[in-house]
Symmetry: C2
Subunit: 306 residues, 2 copies
Amino acid sequence: MTASLYAGIDVGGTAIKWMIVDAAGRIEAQGRAPTLRRGVAAQSTAIARRLSDEHPGIAGIGVICPGIVDEAAGRVVYASNLDLDGAALAEDIGGATGIPARLGHDGRAAGIAEGLMGAGRGASSFLMMPIGTGISMAVMLGGRAWAGASYCAGEIGHAPVFPDGETCGCGQRGCLEVYASATGLARRYRDAAGVDVGARGVEERLGSDPIADRVWGTGVHALAVSLTQMTLALDPERIVVGGGLSHAGPRLLDPLRAELADMLRWRRPPGLVAAELGDAAGRWGAAVLGARAAGASCYEAWEPLR
Amino acid sequence: MTASLYAGIDVGGTAIKWMIVDAAGRIEAQGRAPTLRRGVAAQSTAIARRLSDEHPGIAGIGVICPGIVDEAAGRVVYASNLDLDGAALAEDIGGATGIPARLGHDGRAAGIAEGLMGAGRGASSFLMMPIGTGISMAVMLGGRAWAGASYCAGEIGHAPVFPDGETCGCGQRGCLEVYASATGLARRYRDAAGVDVGARGVEERLGSDPIADRVWGTGVHALAVSLTQMTLALDPERIVVGGGLSHAGPRLLDPLRAELADMLRWRRPPGLVAAELGDAAGRWGAAVLGARAAGASCYEAWEPLR
Protein backbone atom coordinates (compact mmCIF):
# COMPACT_ATOMS: atom_id res chain seq x y z
CA MET A 1 0.00 0.00 0.00
CA THR A 2 1.26 3.45 -0.91
CA ALA A 3 1.47 6.00 1.90
CA SER A 4 -0.97 8.87 1.51
CA LEU A 5 0.30 11.98 -0.25
CA TYR A 6 -0.98 15.54 -0.10
CA ALA A 7 -0.69 18.12 -2.85
CA GLY A 8 -0.40 21.86 -2.30
CA ILE A 9 -0.93 24.28 -5.19
CA ASP A 10 0.02 27.94 -4.72
CA VAL A 11 -1.59 30.11 -7.39
CA GLY A 12 0.31 33.39 -7.63
CA GLY A 13 0.36 36.30 -10.05
CA THR A 14 3.58 35.20 -11.72
CA ALA A 15 3.70 31.44 -11.23
CA ILE A 16 1.68 28.50 -10.01
CA LYS A 17 3.88 26.40 -7.72
CA TRP A 18 3.07 23.00 -6.36
CA MET A 19 4.42 20.51 -3.90
CA ILE A 20 3.51 16.95 -3.00
CA VAL A 21 4.36 15.76 0.49
CA ASP A 22 3.72 12.75 2.69
CA ALA A 23 2.37 12.69 6.23
CA ALA A 24 5.90 12.90 7.66
CA GLY A 25 6.65 16.09 5.75
CA ARG A 26 8.90 14.52 3.10
CA ILE A 27 8.71 16.26 -0.28
CA GLU A 28 7.74 13.76 -2.98
CA ALA A 29 7.72 16.26 -5.85
CA GLN A 30 7.51 19.95 -6.60
CA GLY A 31 7.34 22.19 -9.64
CA ARG A 32 6.06 25.40 -11.16
CA ALA A 33 4.53 26.90 -14.28
CA PRO A 34 4.03 30.52 -15.39
CA THR A 35 0.53 31.77 -14.54
CA LEU A 36 -1.61 32.28 -17.65
CA ARG A 37 -3.17 35.70 -18.10
CA ARG A 38 -6.63 34.19 -18.52
CA GLY A 39 -8.22 30.89 -17.54
CA VAL A 40 -6.29 30.57 -14.29
CA ALA A 41 -8.99 28.39 -12.71
CA ALA A 42 -8.83 25.97 -15.63
CA GLN A 43 -5.04 26.03 -15.52
CA SER A 44 -5.03 25.23 -11.81
CA THR A 45 -7.51 22.41 -12.33
CA ALA A 46 -5.42 20.98 -15.18
CA ILE A 47 -2.34 21.02 -12.96
CA ALA A 48 -4.23 19.27 -10.18
CA ARG A 49 -5.46 16.61 -12.62
CA ARG A 50 -1.98 16.00 -13.97
CA LEU A 51 -0.55 15.69 -10.45
CA SER A 52 -3.26 13.24 -9.47
CA ASP A 53 -2.55 11.16 -12.59
CA GLU A 54 1.17 11.10 -11.95
CA HIS A 55 0.91 10.48 -8.20
CA PRO A 56 -1.89 7.98 -7.51
CA GLY A 57 -1.24 8.25 -3.76
CA ILE A 58 -2.62 11.79 -3.48
CA ALA A 59 -5.42 11.72 -0.89
CA GLY A 60 -6.07 15.45 -0.60
CA ILE A 61 -5.34 18.68 -2.47
CA GLY A 62 -5.01 22.19 -1.08
CA VAL A 63 -5.08 25.18 -3.38
CA ILE A 64 -4.35 28.76 -2.31
CA CYS A 65 -4.36 32.21 -3.90
CA PRO A 66 -4.01 35.83 -2.81
CA GLY A 67 -6.87 38.30 -2.45
CA ILE A 68 -10.17 37.81 -0.70
CA VAL A 69 -10.74 34.13 -0.14
CA ASP A 70 -13.85 32.70 1.50
CA GLU A 71 -12.39 29.51 2.90
CA ALA A 72 -15.65 28.20 4.33
CA ALA A 73 -17.49 28.50 1.01
CA GLY A 74 -14.41 27.42 -0.97
CA ARG A 75 -14.73 30.48 -3.18
CA VAL A 76 -12.36 33.22 -4.36
CA VAL A 77 -14.22 36.49 -3.79
CA TYR A 78 -11.62 38.76 -5.33
CA ALA A 79 -8.07 38.22 -6.55
CA SER A 80 -6.53 41.28 -8.17
CA ASN A 81 -5.03 40.55 -11.63
CA LEU A 82 -5.62 36.86 -11.29
CA ASP A 83 -8.80 36.16 -13.28
CA LEU A 84 -10.19 34.11 -10.39
CA ASP A 85 -13.03 36.27 -9.06
CA GLY A 86 -15.88 34.01 -8.05
CA ALA A 87 -13.96 30.81 -8.83
CA ALA A 88 -14.91 27.78 -6.74
CA LEU A 89 -11.37 26.43 -7.03
CA ALA A 90 -11.62 23.60 -4.53
CA GLU A 91 -14.90 22.38 -6.01
CA ASP A 92 -13.45 22.53 -9.54
CA ILE A 93 -10.36 20.59 -8.52
CA GLY A 94 -12.34 18.08 -6.47
CA GLY A 95 -14.68 17.47 -9.39
CA ALA A 96 -11.87 17.07 -11.91
CA THR A 97 -9.76 14.73 -9.81
CA GLY A 98 -12.21 12.92 -7.57
CA ILE A 99 -9.91 13.87 -4.68
CA PRO A 100 -11.07 15.96 -1.68
CA ALA A 101 -9.81 19.53 -2.11
CA ARG A 102 -9.75 22.65 0.03
CA LEU A 103 -9.25 26.31 -0.84
CA GLY A 104 -7.17 28.65 1.28
CA HIS A 105 -5.69 32.14 1.34
CA ASP A 106 -1.98 32.33 0.52
CA GLY A 107 -1.01 34.53 3.46
CA ARG A 108 -2.93 32.49 6.01
CA ALA A 109 -1.67 29.23 4.51
CA ALA A 110 1.90 30.50 4.80
CA GLY A 111 1.14 31.43 8.42
CA ILE A 112 -0.17 27.93 9.09
CA ALA A 113 2.98 26.41 7.58
CA GLU A 114 5.33 28.67 9.57
CA GLY A 115 3.30 27.83 12.68
CA LEU A 116 3.53 24.09 12.13
CA MET A 117 7.06 23.68 10.83
CA GLY A 118 8.71 27.09 10.55
CA ALA A 119 9.50 30.15 12.63
CA GLY A 120 6.16 30.09 14.46
CA ARG A 121 6.73 26.56 15.76
CA GLY A 122 5.77 26.17 19.40
CA ALA A 123 4.18 29.64 19.69
CA SER A 124 0.54 29.75 20.72
CA SER A 125 0.22 33.05 18.90
CA PHE A 126 2.24 34.96 16.36
CA LEU A 127 1.99 37.59 13.66
CA MET A 128 3.60 36.64 10.37
CA MET A 129 4.43 39.69 8.32
CA PRO A 130 5.72 39.17 4.78
CA ILE A 131 7.49 42.26 3.46
CA GLY A 132 7.98 42.37 -0.29
CA THR A 133 6.27 44.35 -3.05
CA GLY A 134 3.58 44.95 -0.44
CA ILE A 135 3.16 44.23 3.25
CA SER A 136 0.53 42.05 4.88
CA MET A 137 0.18 40.03 8.05
CA ALA A 138 -1.18 36.62 8.98
CA VAL A 139 -2.90 36.89 12.38
CA MET A 140 -2.24 33.59 14.13
CA LEU A 141 -4.03 33.46 17.48
CA GLY A 142 -4.47 30.42 19.69
CA GLY A 143 -4.47 27.85 16.91
CA ARG A 144 -6.44 29.94 14.46
CA ALA A 145 -5.45 31.92 11.41
CA TRP A 146 -7.89 34.81 11.76
CA ALA A 147 -9.44 35.62 8.38
CA GLY A 148 -11.64 38.57 9.30
CA ALA A 149 -15.35 39.27 8.95
CA SER A 150 -14.98 39.91 5.21
CA TYR A 151 -11.82 37.80 4.73
CA CYS A 152 -9.67 40.93 4.70
CA ALA A 153 -7.73 40.63 7.96
CA GLY A 154 -4.02 41.41 7.81
CA GLU A 155 -4.15 44.02 5.05
CA ILE A 156 -1.92 46.37 7.01
CA GLY A 157 0.11 47.62 4.06
CA HIS A 158 -2.13 50.65 3.88
CA ALA A 159 -2.32 51.30 7.61
CA PRO A 160 -1.48 54.96 8.34
CA VAL A 161 1.72 54.70 10.39
CA PHE A 162 2.61 58.35 9.83
CA PRO A 163 -0.72 60.22 9.50
CA ASP A 164 -0.20 63.22 7.18
CA GLY A 165 2.94 61.54 5.86
CA GLU A 166 3.91 60.88 2.23
CA THR A 167 1.18 60.20 -0.31
CA CYS A 168 0.51 56.57 -1.21
CA GLY A 169 -0.72 55.21 -4.52
CA CYS A 170 -3.92 54.24 -2.69
CA GLY A 171 -4.83 57.91 -2.26
CA GLN A 172 -4.15 57.96 1.49
CA ARG A 173 -1.11 59.31 3.30
CA GLY A 174 1.58 57.76 5.43
CA CYS A 175 0.79 54.12 4.64
CA LEU A 176 3.19 51.49 5.95
CA GLU A 177 3.99 50.28 2.42
CA VAL A 178 5.10 53.76 1.35
CA TYR A 179 8.06 53.54 3.72
CA ALA A 180 8.78 49.90 4.42
CA SER A 181 7.91 47.66 1.46
CA ALA A 182 10.70 46.69 -0.93
CA THR A 183 8.97 48.89 -3.51
CA GLY A 184 8.71 51.79 -1.08
CA LEU A 185 12.36 51.56 0.01
CA ALA A 186 13.53 51.50 -3.62
CA ARG A 187 11.28 54.42 -4.58
CA ARG A 188 12.25 56.59 -1.63
CA TYR A 189 15.96 56.00 -2.29
CA ARG A 190 15.47 56.78 -5.98
CA ASP A 191 13.59 59.99 -5.16
CA ALA A 192 16.39 61.13 -2.84
CA ALA A 193 19.48 59.84 -4.67
CA GLY A 194 18.29 60.01 -8.27
CA VAL A 195 19.28 56.43 -9.03
CA ASP A 196 17.26 53.21 -8.89
CA VAL A 197 19.12 50.48 -7.04
CA GLY A 198 16.17 48.43 -5.76
CA ALA A 199 15.59 47.51 -2.12
CA ARG A 200 18.56 45.13 -2.23
CA GLY A 201 20.74 47.98 -3.43
CA VAL A 202 19.59 50.16 -0.54
CA GLU A 203 20.46 47.37 1.86
CA GLU A 204 23.91 46.89 0.31
CA ARG A 205 24.68 50.60 0.74
CA LEU A 206 23.91 50.60 4.49
CA GLY A 207 26.79 52.06 6.50
CA SER A 208 28.42 53.66 3.45
CA ASP A 209 25.64 55.81 2.00
CA PRO A 210 23.81 58.27 4.28
CA ILE A 211 20.79 58.35 1.97
CA ALA A 212 20.49 54.57 2.16
CA ASP A 213 20.87 54.73 5.95
CA ARG A 214 18.12 57.33 6.20
CA VAL A 215 15.67 55.57 3.87
CA TRP A 216 16.26 52.22 5.57
CA GLY A 217 15.97 53.81 9.03
CA THR A 218 12.63 55.39 8.19
CA GLY A 219 11.40 52.03 6.87
CA VAL A 220 12.46 50.31 10.08
CA HIS A 221 10.76 53.06 12.11
CA ALA A 222 7.53 52.62 10.15
CA LEU A 223 7.63 48.87 10.78
CA ALA A 224 8.31 49.45 14.49
CA VAL A 225 5.33 51.81 14.77
CA SER A 226 3.07 49.27 13.09
CA LEU A 227 4.37 46.34 15.13
CA THR A 228 4.02 48.37 18.34
CA GLN A 229 0.37 49.00 17.47
CA MET A 230 -0.13 45.30 16.74
CA THR A 231 1.70 44.13 19.85
CA LEU A 232 -0.32 46.40 22.13
CA ALA A 233 -3.57 45.30 20.48
CA LEU A 234 -2.89 41.57 20.18
CA ASP A 235 -0.02 40.70 22.55
CA PRO A 236 1.41 37.99 20.29
CA GLU A 237 4.03 35.62 21.62
CA ARG A 238 6.18 36.10 18.54
CA ILE A 239 6.50 38.18 15.37
CA VAL A 240 7.75 36.45 12.24
CA VAL A 241 9.08 38.65 9.43
CA GLY A 242 8.98 37.06 6.00
CA GLY A 243 8.97 38.03 2.34
CA GLY A 244 11.85 39.24 0.20
CA LEU A 245 13.05 41.84 2.68
CA SER A 246 13.53 39.24 5.42
CA HIS A 247 16.64 38.08 3.55
CA ALA A 248 18.31 41.21 4.92
CA GLY A 249 18.42 39.26 8.20
CA PRO A 250 20.15 41.16 11.04
CA ARG A 251 20.32 44.36 8.97
CA LEU A 252 16.55 44.47 9.23
CA LEU A 253 15.84 42.52 12.40
CA ASP A 254 18.47 44.03 14.73
CA PRO A 255 17.40 47.67 14.41
CA LEU A 256 13.73 46.66 14.28
CA ARG A 257 14.10 44.64 17.49
CA ALA A 258 15.81 47.59 19.18
CA GLU A 259 13.16 50.11 18.12
CA LEU A 260 10.34 47.78 19.11
CA ALA A 261 11.87 47.27 22.57
CA ASP A 262 12.26 51.04 22.89
CA MET A 263 8.65 51.75 21.95
CA LEU A 264 7.38 48.98 24.24
CA ARG A 265 9.60 49.97 27.13
CA TRP A 266 7.08 49.13 29.85
CA ARG A 267 6.32 45.62 28.61
CA ARG A 268 8.40 42.74 27.29
CA PRO A 269 8.38 42.85 23.48
CA PRO A 270 7.44 39.68 21.61
CA GLY A 271 10.23 37.65 20.05
CA LEU A 272 11.13 38.91 16.57
CA VAL A 273 12.47 36.31 14.12
CA ALA A 274 12.84 35.75 10.40
CA ALA A 275 10.51 33.36 8.59
CA GLU A 276 12.07 29.98 7.85
CA LEU A 277 10.20 28.54 4.90
CA GLY A 278 10.79 31.33 2.38
CA ASP A 279 8.41 31.32 -0.56
CA ALA A 280 7.76 27.61 0.01
CA ALA A 281 5.58 28.56 3.02
CA GLY A 282 2.55 29.01 0.77
CA ARG A 283 2.75 25.61 -0.91
CA TRP A 284 3.59 23.93 2.40
CA GLY A 285 0.48 25.54 3.86
CA ALA A 286 -1.54 24.45 0.82
CA ALA A 287 -0.33 20.87 1.29
CA VAL A 288 -1.44 21.05 4.93
CA LEU A 289 -4.90 22.10 3.73
CA GLY A 290 -4.73 19.12 1.36
CA ALA A 291 -4.06 16.83 4.32
CA ARG A 292 -7.05 18.33 6.10
CA ALA A 293 -9.24 17.90 3.03
CA ALA A 294 -8.31 14.22 3.21
CA GLY A 295 -9.29 14.11 6.87
CA ALA A 296 -5.72 13.21 7.82
CA SER A 297 -4.66 13.82 11.39
CA CYS A 298 -1.09 14.76 10.53
CA TYR A 299 -0.35 18.49 10.55
CA GLU A 300 -2.75 19.37 13.30
CA ALA A 301 -3.26 22.78 14.92
CA TRP A 302 -3.72 26.11 13.12
CA GLU A 303 -7.10 26.21 11.48
CA PRO A 304 -8.23 28.97 9.14
CA LEU A 305 -11.02 30.78 10.96
CA ARG A 306 -13.50 33.47 10.32
CA MET B 1 -36.78 23.90 43.55
CA THR B 2 -35.24 27.34 43.16
CA ALA B 3 -34.04 28.31 39.70
CA SER B 4 -30.26 28.58 39.47
CA LEU B 5 -28.73 31.99 40.02
CA TYR B 6 -25.35 33.31 38.95
CA ALA B 7 -23.36 36.02 40.71
CA GLY B 8 -21.02 38.47 39.00
CA ILE B 9 -18.57 40.51 41.06
CA ASP B 10 -16.72 43.38 39.37
CA VAL B 11 -13.71 44.45 41.43
CA GLY B 12 -12.68 47.97 40.39
CA GLY B 13 -10.33 50.59 41.77
CA THR B 14 -13.15 52.68 43.29
CA ALA B 15 -15.93 50.21 43.95
CA ILE B 16 -16.76 46.52 43.99
CA LYS B 17 -20.08 46.04 42.18
CA TRP B 18 -22.08 42.86 42.05
CA MET B 19 -25.11 41.47 40.32
CA ILE B 20 -27.09 38.28 40.69
CA VAL B 21 -29.00 37.06 37.64
CA ASP B 22 -30.95 34.01 36.57
CA ALA B 23 -30.54 31.94 33.42
CA ALA B 24 -33.03 34.12 31.56
CA GLY B 25 -31.06 37.28 32.28
CA ARG B 26 -33.36 38.67 34.96
CA ILE B 27 -31.56 40.66 37.64
CA GLU B 28 -32.29 39.22 41.09
CA ALA B 29 -30.14 41.68 43.03
CA GLN B 30 -27.29 44.12 42.64
CA GLY B 31 -25.19 46.36 44.81
CA ARG B 32 -21.84 47.98 45.46
CA ALA B 33 -19.29 48.81 48.12
CA PRO B 34 -16.25 51.11 48.13
CA THR B 35 -13.04 49.20 47.39
CA LEU B 36 -10.77 48.96 50.44
CA ARG B 37 -7.23 50.16 50.02
CA ARG B 38 -5.81 46.87 51.32
CA GLY B 39 -7.15 43.36 51.61
CA VAL B 40 -9.17 43.52 48.41
CA ALA B 41 -9.02 39.75 47.92
CA ALA B 42 -10.45 39.19 51.41
CA GLN B 43 -13.07 41.88 50.81
CA SER B 44 -14.13 40.24 47.54
CA THR B 45 -14.32 36.85 49.22
CA ALA B 46 -16.41 38.27 52.07
CA ILE B 47 -18.83 39.81 49.58
CA ALA B 48 -19.10 36.49 47.74
CA ARG B 49 -19.79 34.67 51.01
CA ARG B 50 -22.45 37.15 52.01
CA LEU B 51 -24.13 36.88 48.60
CA SER B 52 -24.10 33.08 48.77
CA ASP B 53 -25.64 33.20 52.27
CA GLU B 54 -28.38 35.59 51.20
CA HIS B 55 -29.15 33.86 47.89
CA PRO B 56 -29.03 30.09 48.37
CA GLY B 57 -29.81 29.58 44.66
CA ILE B 58 -26.39 30.80 43.50
CA ALA B 59 -24.83 28.01 41.44
CA GLY B 60 -21.79 29.82 40.10
CA ILE B 61 -19.78 32.98 40.78
CA GLY B 62 -17.74 35.04 38.35
CA VAL B 63 -15.28 37.62 39.62
CA ILE B 64 -13.42 40.09 37.42
CA CYS B 65 -10.77 42.78 37.84
CA PRO B 66 -8.60 45.02 35.67
CA GLY B 67 -4.92 44.47 34.95
CA ILE B 68 -3.19 41.29 33.87
CA VAL B 69 -5.47 38.35 34.55
CA ASP B 70 -4.52 34.74 33.85
CA GLU B 71 -7.98 33.31 33.32
CA ALA B 72 -6.81 29.75 32.77
CA ALA B 73 -4.88 29.64 36.06
CA GLY B 74 -7.51 31.74 37.86
CA ARG B 75 -4.85 34.14 39.04
CA VAL B 76 -4.41 37.92 39.01
CA VAL B 77 -0.90 38.52 37.71
CA TYR B 78 -0.91 42.28 38.14
CA ALA B 79 -3.59 44.82 38.99
CA SER B 80 -2.33 48.35 39.35
CA ASN B 81 -3.40 49.99 42.67
CA LEU B 82 -5.64 47.10 43.58
CA ASP B 83 -3.64 45.03 46.05
CA LEU B 84 -4.50 41.86 44.16
CA ASP B 85 -1.18 40.82 42.59
CA GLY B 86 -0.91 37.06 42.72
CA ALA B 87 -4.39 36.61 44.18
CA ALA B 88 -6.14 33.36 43.25
CA LEU B 89 -9.51 35.08 43.50
CA ALA B 90 -11.66 32.32 42.03
CA GLU B 91 -10.03 29.69 44.23
CA ASP B 92 -10.48 31.88 47.32
CA ILE B 93 -14.13 32.50 46.55
CA GLY B 94 -14.79 28.89 45.63
CA GLY B 95 -13.19 27.74 48.88
CA ALA B 96 -15.08 30.23 51.02
CA THR B 97 -18.49 29.59 49.49
CA GLY B 98 -18.34 26.01 48.23
CA ILE B 99 -19.69 27.35 44.93
CA PRO B 100 -17.81 26.95 41.63
CA ALA B 101 -16.11 30.26 40.76
CA ARG B 102 -14.26 31.65 37.79
CA LEU B 103 -11.91 34.61 37.41
CA GLY B 104 -12.00 36.94 34.42
CA HIS B 105 -10.59 40.20 33.12
CA ASP B 106 -12.92 43.18 33.35
CA GLY B 107 -12.45 44.38 29.77
CA ARG B 108 -12.89 40.94 28.24
CA ALA B 109 -15.87 40.21 30.49
CA ALA B 110 -17.49 43.46 29.36
CA GLY B 111 -16.81 42.40 25.76
CA ILE B 112 -18.43 39.03 26.40
CA ALA B 113 -21.50 40.75 27.86
CA GLU B 114 -21.81 43.24 24.98
CA GLY B 115 -21.40 40.32 22.57
CA LEU B 116 -24.11 38.24 24.23
CA MET B 117 -26.69 40.86 25.10
CA GLY B 118 -25.40 44.31 24.11
CA ALA B 119 -24.08 46.19 21.10
CA GLY B 120 -22.04 43.22 19.82
CA ARG B 121 -25.09 40.97 19.62
CA GLY B 122 -25.16 38.93 16.41
CA ALA B 123 -21.67 39.94 15.29
CA SER B 124 -19.19 37.12 14.77
CA SER B 125 -16.38 39.58 15.52
CA PHE B 126 -16.12 43.00 17.06
CA LEU B 127 -13.76 45.32 18.84
CA MET B 128 -15.10 46.86 22.01
CA MET B 129 -13.26 50.04 22.90
CA PRO B 130 -14.06 51.69 26.25
CA ILE B 131 -12.95 55.33 26.28
CA GLY B 132 -12.70 56.90 29.71
CA THR B 133 -9.75 57.80 31.92
CA GLY B 134 -7.80 55.47 29.65
CA ILE B 135 -8.51 53.59 26.43
CA SER B 136 -8.43 49.85 25.92
CA MET B 137 -10.01 47.33 23.61
CA ALA B 138 -11.60 43.91 23.94
CA VAL B 139 -10.66 41.83 20.89
CA MET B 140 -13.67 39.63 20.17
CA LEU B 141 -12.95 37.26 17.29
CA GLY B 142 -15.08 34.33 16.19
CA GLY B 143 -16.53 33.56 19.60
CA ARG B 144 -13.36 34.24 21.55
CA ALA B 145 -12.24 37.15 23.67
CA TRP B 146 -8.55 37.17 22.78
CA ALA B 147 -6.46 37.63 25.92
CA GLY B 148 -2.97 37.68 24.43
CA ALA B 149 0.15 35.61 25.04
CA SER B 150 0.83 37.44 28.31
CA TYR B 151 -2.78 38.47 29.00
CA CYS B 152 -2.08 41.99 27.78
CA ALA B 153 -4.09 42.17 24.54
CA GLY B 154 -6.09 45.33 23.95
CA GLU B 155 -3.79 47.76 25.78
CA ILE B 156 -3.96 50.22 22.91
CA GLY B 157 -4.11 53.37 25.03
CA HIS B 158 -0.38 53.77 24.57
CA ALA B 159 -0.28 52.91 20.89
CA PRO B 160 1.60 55.61 18.97
CA VAL B 161 -1.07 57.07 16.69
CA PHE B 162 0.96 60.21 15.97
CA PRO B 163 4.64 59.18 16.16
CA ASP B 164 6.69 62.15 17.33
CA GLY B 165 3.50 63.71 18.68
CA GLU B 166 2.85 65.09 22.16
CA THR B 167 4.59 63.50 25.14
CA CYS B 168 2.62 60.99 27.20
CA GLY B 169 2.97 60.25 30.89
CA CYS B 170 4.27 56.82 29.89
CA GLY B 171 7.42 58.39 28.46
CA GLN B 172 6.48 57.75 24.83
CA ARG B 173 5.09 60.22 22.33
CA GLY B 174 1.84 60.46 20.42
CA CYS B 175 -0.07 57.83 22.40
CA LEU B 176 -3.77 57.42 21.65
CA GLU B 177 -4.71 58.31 25.26
CA VAL B 178 -2.90 61.64 25.04
CA TYR B 179 -5.43 62.85 22.48
CA ALA B 180 -8.58 60.81 22.85
CA SER B 181 -9.16 59.69 26.43
CA ALA B 182 -11.47 61.77 28.62
CA THR B 183 -8.38 62.74 30.61
CA GLY B 184 -6.49 63.66 27.45
CA LEU B 185 -9.32 65.75 26.03
CA ALA B 186 -9.69 67.67 29.30
CA ARG B 187 -5.94 68.23 29.60
CA ARG B 188 -5.48 69.40 26.01
CA TYR B 189 -8.39 71.83 26.33
CA ARG B 190 -7.01 73.13 29.62
CA ASP B 191 -3.55 73.58 28.10
CA ALA B 192 -5.01 75.58 25.20
CA ALA B 193 -7.83 77.50 26.91
CA GLY B 194 -6.38 77.87 30.39
CA VAL B 195 -9.50 76.53 32.09
CA ASP B 196 -10.38 73.01 33.21
CA VAL B 197 -13.87 72.00 32.08
CA GLY B 198 -13.41 68.24 31.89
CA ALA B 199 -14.13 66.10 28.84
CA ARG B 200 -17.86 66.70 29.27
CA GLY B 201 -17.21 70.44 29.23
CA VAL B 202 -15.26 70.15 25.99
CA GLU B 203 -18.15 68.21 24.47
CA GLU B 204 -20.68 70.82 25.62
CA ARG B 205 -18.67 73.62 23.96
CA LEU B 206 -18.63 71.92 20.54
CA GLY B 207 -19.86 74.26 17.83
CA SER B 208 -19.49 77.36 19.97
CA ASP B 209 -15.84 77.23 21.04
CA PRO B 210 -13.12 76.81 18.38
CA ILE B 211 -10.65 75.43 20.94
CA ALA B 212 -13.14 72.75 21.97
CA ASP B 213 -13.79 71.95 18.30
CA ARG B 214 -10.09 71.60 17.63
CA VAL B 215 -9.30 69.47 20.69
CA TRP B 216 -12.31 67.22 20.06
CA GLY B 217 -11.46 66.98 16.34
CA THR B 218 -7.89 65.89 17.09
CA GLY B 219 -9.23 63.28 19.53
CA VAL B 220 -11.61 61.94 16.90
CA HIS B 221 -8.77 61.89 14.37
CA ALA B 222 -6.56 59.92 16.78
CA LEU B 223 -9.35 57.40 17.32
CA ALA B 224 -9.91 57.13 13.56
CA VAL B 225 -6.21 56.45 12.97
CA SER B 226 -6.20 53.74 15.64
CA LEU B 227 -9.43 52.14 14.44
CA THR B 228 -8.17 52.22 10.84
CA GLN B 229 -5.08 50.31 11.96
CA MET B 230 -7.25 47.82 13.85
CA THR B 231 -9.76 47.40 11.02
CA LEU B 232 -7.05 46.73 8.46
CA ALA B 233 -5.34 44.24 10.77
CA LEU B 234 -8.41 42.43 12.10
CA ASP B 235 -11.33 43.17 9.76
CA PRO B 236 -13.93 43.13 12.54
CA GLU B 237 -17.60 43.06 11.66
CA ARG B 238 -18.36 45.83 14.14
CA ILE B 239 -16.71 48.37 16.44
CA VAL B 240 -18.38 49.10 19.76
CA VAL B 241 -17.39 52.30 21.56
CA GLY B 242 -17.98 52.27 25.29
CA GLY B 243 -16.81 54.03 28.42
CA GLY B 244 -17.69 57.47 29.70
CA LEU B 245 -17.01 59.21 26.40
CA SER B 246 -19.54 57.05 24.55
CA HIS B 247 -22.28 59.09 26.26
CA ALA B 248 -21.41 61.85 23.77
CA GLY B 249 -23.31 59.68 21.28
CA PRO B 250 -23.55 61.23 17.78
CA ARG B 251 -21.12 64.03 18.73
CA LEU B 252 -18.46 61.35 18.96
CA LEU B 253 -19.75 58.63 16.67
CA ASP B 254 -20.83 60.73 13.66
CA PRO B 255 -17.48 62.40 12.99
CA LEU B 256 -15.62 59.22 13.90
CA ARG B 257 -17.73 57.21 11.45
CA ALA B 258 -17.07 59.78 8.71
CA GLU B 259 -13.31 59.83 9.30
CA LEU B 260 -13.11 56.07 9.45
CA ALA B 261 -14.99 55.74 6.16
CA ASP B 262 -12.65 58.31 4.62
CA MET B 263 -9.51 56.53 5.78
CA LEU B 264 -10.86 53.15 4.65
CA ARG B 265 -12.10 54.46 1.31
CA TRP B 266 -11.28 51.31 -0.66
CA ARG B 267 -13.06 48.92 1.69
CA ARG B 268 -16.35 48.94 3.56
CA PRO B 269 -15.79 50.18 7.11
CA PRO B 270 -17.11 48.07 9.99
CA GLY B 271 -20.29 49.23 11.69
CA LEU B 272 -19.59 51.71 14.48
CA VAL B 273 -22.02 51.76 17.39
CA ALA B 274 -22.19 52.81 21.05
CA ALA B 275 -22.01 50.18 23.79
CA GLU B 276 -25.38 49.34 25.32
CA LEU B 277 -24.67 48.01 28.78
CA GLY B 278 -22.78 50.97 30.23
CA ASP B 279 -20.73 50.19 33.32
CA ALA B 280 -22.98 47.19 34.00
CA ALA B 281 -21.19 45.35 31.16
CA GLY B 282 -18.47 44.18 33.53
CA ARG B 283 -20.74 42.63 36.15
CA TRP B 284 -22.97 41.15 33.44
CA GLY B 285 -19.87 39.54 31.96
CA ALA B 286 -18.82 38.36 35.42
CA ALA B 287 -22.25 36.77 35.93
CA VAL B 288 -21.83 35.00 32.57
CA LEU B 289 -18.52 33.60 33.83
CA GLY B 290 -20.40 32.52 36.96
CA ALA B 291 -22.88 30.62 34.80
CA ARG B 292 -19.99 28.94 33.04
CA ALA B 293 -18.34 28.05 36.34
CA ALA B 294 -21.61 26.30 37.18
CA GLY B 295 -21.48 24.41 33.89
CA ALA B 296 -24.74 26.06 32.82
CA SER B 297 -25.55 26.09 29.13
CA CYS B 298 -27.25 29.49 29.18
CA TYR B 299 -25.13 32.38 27.94
CA GLU B 300 -23.19 30.42 25.37
CA ALA B 301 -20.68 31.77 22.85
CA TRP B 302 -17.77 34.12 23.59
CA GLU B 303 -15.13 32.29 25.56
CA PRO B 304 -12.07 33.97 27.05
CA LEU B 305 -9.11 32.61 25.15
CA ARG B 306 -5.39 32.77 25.25
